[in-house]
Symmetry: C2
Subunit: 410 residues, 2 copies
């Protein structure tokens, strides 16, 4: 949580942090500016003190919405510095940041965060570290300050995620109703009003409209895949395929609040009209897996424990899993879940690597998503819900949607 | 253009490049993979050779759409390396990339591109440079390889941008029709059917619906601002303000193809019912400016020359400009334009800094956007069109939309 930042800075012996870059699609900056809607900014924070926002004068009104003290960037006169340095942007950028750090009286270990071209970041931070002996440039490679702070959500953040979930389930419900509303041809394909066959591509267009109508942002697309493509976890769907009775449909939808806010993430598997025996079986195995695992979610447990349980469960049912063969593309082939927040994938991870020592704790918001994949048998299934552990360690399911596999046609 | 990459690598003495990170909102990777819709990937390219895509096996179908030779990442066994390195992700990531580079027989100067957390990039590339004596890690701070290649567009890219423009003008047209369709109260505010006043916030919601209906992606929002907010170039609009006759409305809309593709960017200024004298005057000055500047757009000219002309033009008409005072917030306060492509702002820049030696050339796609801002007089205006210079040096305006200031109410 945001109030953990100072403690987490202390653990990392960081005297200050600099967070910069575009605000959109740059979670640490969104997080600190409360999604103020700026195009680009610097946020500077000393340990134990309030963060300061440095914003373009053209964006001064947006900057106020951050709730942070605002300094307009023209005060540091980048253009003047550029002239002074004969047009050398690297030198001017270093001098510019030096001015800011000096005014904020920052010395010592300074952590840098925020998205940037990796080569530019390497060049700039290497040069900065050399040019300013009074500071030590610190970069973190994993479990960084912001990932750690953002791993636990406040009640308000969890409620925002729940609200995105409400809109997401509305899209799923409307998608199902739309499917049901089609005629079925003799070959069991779905037909549109004009007699053309309904394809996965048509469904993608329809789902995009439904998402927009719910006011959700679509930064990473979604998965609506059928048959063989449903058997490949990340396939978004083969657009030319017709919708057909009795085929597995994997619908995985992961959208966020407009302006770069919080994500939700859910998956349901459907079969139109009826479900063939083999599909019904892997779906039941997945439902049973969910029923075994989720009541055991509890604060203090290692997340990888649930991944191990899932593999063991599926093995018992006769499915290959990545526990025996980490390159398998049949059976259970991914990890059980992931945190959800300003990034679609964040802490906690449920991977079963020996180094994953994450334990569930209050504030975690995460997916649980068992699934089985058999591309060569033309089918796959996955069920994914979001869970939140509140401050009193109570586990809440934030996904309010039924588990029916078969969608009866109307 | 993409075919310039080898030549541009040669100029930079780069033996190879590594482009990595998420694909979405990561233009260099989108560019090389043709927007294949992957979540994350590495692209490796040796000078003079075809690029190779390394993709997650779960995304192998999407990877094929890139048109590049695909290697599945499991081949390099990151999980095994992580175990070997006792869970040290930095060491494992270096060993992983070392395996890839060795297999691709890459040595010498290697440029790194693609978005990443800046601290993580610094840490990783510093460690990589130390660990692999056979390569020299190269990062570029400005005018980098991809910015340079992407500065000029192929005919196909220009046509894609034109098509985004067609959909963008449709949104503007529909927005105008929506405004016209409102009743006007005695105090000259617009009224909705239920008698509530129509606010800027209502217009934002309506415009978002129109954008979605056109199948456009909205990664950076848009500007629909009135009155005083219209006098602040980057203000997105004061949401609680009512729409009112005779007030300047600045509508700046910059959306892109779904899935992270090409942007378009246009601005119109409107006034409902009638235009007050002062607004009509600054609008006419801006129209006249456009009429003076744009016929002079020609291959070989320095872009800053047009910025200087614009400042001179506005000065002659009695407006303050950034040419005299680079901190002014009244009059003409920004630069004349910018390239448009996979980023909303790219090369060519029209800034008038001494170091900007950019000249117009075939393949450039860019905005021209003069405007005047008087926040304290409660008004502002801007007109923005996109231009494309084709291979035969012919200048095309890609924005097909009239310049009427006054929107008559129906």
């Amino acid at each position: 949580m945001k109030e953990d930042l100072d403690r987490l800075m202390q653990v990392r012996r960081l005297d200050a942090i600099v967070v910069s870059g575009p605000v959109h699609n740059n979670p640490p900056l969104y997080y600190l500016t409360q999604g103020a809607g700026l195009m680009a900014a610097h946020v500077i924070k000393r340990q134990g003190e309030t963060a300061v926002l440095i914003a373009n004068p053209m964006e001064r009104e947006e900057a106020q919405r951050s709730g942070l003290p605002v300094i307009v960037s023209s005060r540091y006169d980048y253009r003047g510095l550029l002239q002074e340095h004969g047009g050398d942007r690297l030198a001017a950028s270093i001098a510019y940041l030096q001015r800011i750090l000096a005014e904020q009286q920052i010395t010592g270990r300074v952590g840098f965060y925020g998205l940037r071209d990796q080569g530019a970041a390497y060049t700039f931070l290497s040069a900065l570290d050399k040019a300013l002996p009074e500071i030590e440039v610190v970069g973190e490679f994993e479990h960084d300050l912001f990932q750690s702070a953002r791993a636990t959500k406040s009640e308000e953040e969890a409620q925002r995620i729940r609200e995105v979930g409400r809109r997401t389930t509305a899209v799923v419900r409307e998608t199902v109703a739309f499917l049901q509303n089609h005629a079925v041809a003799a070959d069991e394909t779905l037909q549109q009003a004009d007699g053309r066959v309904l394809t996965v591509g048509d469904m993608h267009a329809q789902i995009r409209r439904l998402i927009a109508r719910q006011g959700l942002e679509d930064p990473e697309g979604f998965i609506f895949s059928t048959g063989r493509a449903a058997g490949i976890p990340h396939s978004k769907g083969a657009l030319d395929q017709p919708l057909r009775l009795g085929e597995s449909i994997v619908f995985d939808i992961f959208h966020r609040e407009p302006g770069g806010g919080y994500f939700f993430d859910m998956t349901r598997t459907f079969s139109l009209g009826y479900a063939p025996e083999a599909l019904a079986q892997i779906y039941q195995d997945t439902l049973d897996c969910l029923a075994e695992i989720t009541p055991q979610l509890a604060v203090g447990e290692e997340t990888r424990h649930y991944q191990d349980m899932t593999c063991a469960f599926y093995q018992k049912r006769g499915h290959p899993t990545i526990a025996e063969n980490n390159q398998t593309t049949e059976g259970y082939v991914h990890s059980l879940g992931h945190g959800v927040g300003l990034n679609l994938h964040e802490v906690p991870s449920f991977s079963s690597t020996a180094t994953n020592t994450t334990r569930l704790q209050p504030g975690h918001v995460f997916t649980i998503e068992p699934g089985l994949y058999y591309p060569n048998r033309g089918m796959g299934c996955r069920i994914e819900d979001v869970y939140w552990i509140d401050a009193a360690s109570k586990v809440h399911k934030l996904t309010d949607y039924p588990y029916d596999l078969v969608i009866p046609m109307s």
